[in-house]
Symmetry: C2
Subunit: 84 residues, 2 copies
């Protein structure tokens, strides 16, 4: 694997798992006042489009990363709507 | 432009601009209690790696999108550290 491929996988890994602590924090505290509803609405839509793009272009890393982010970002979005 | 390219650009657009309302909200309210410091630390690191990946692979859409997200996510991260 060349350097750019390793970097790409590392980038995908960090930007994907980063949502885990936000989900855990929001599940625990139910504190969503500082979280932007518009951000998570638009972001979740963007991630859904990335997922369709990944499937259409048979790009497995993009598909897998965006399935995970879609689940995590949707959880934050649902909690934002529910706990306000 | 084929459908997948249009989808890719739309996905990049939505996932990038989504951070704008979060930055505006946090600038206005200074309310960062519900925002995960760990999320924004790891996410910003991931976006920085995406940016290096974009530059190394001469991928202009990835580079541009991640420059913008890096600026916006860094602003949220700095406000999270400052306003806690």
């Amino acid at each position: 694997m060349d350097t750019s491929t390793v970097l790409g996988y590392a980038a995908a890994f960090f930007s994907t798992v980063s949502f885990v602590p936000q989900v855990i924090k929001t599940l625990r505290t139910k504190d969503t006042s500082g979280i932007s509803l518009l951000m998570y609405s638009v972001f979740t839509a963007g991630v859904a489009l990335w997922l369709i793009f990944g499937v259409m272009t048979s790009n497995m890393p993009v598909t897998i990363a965006n399935v995970i982010v879609l689940i995590l970002a949707s959880m934050v979005l649902v909690m934002k709507i529910r706990y306000k």
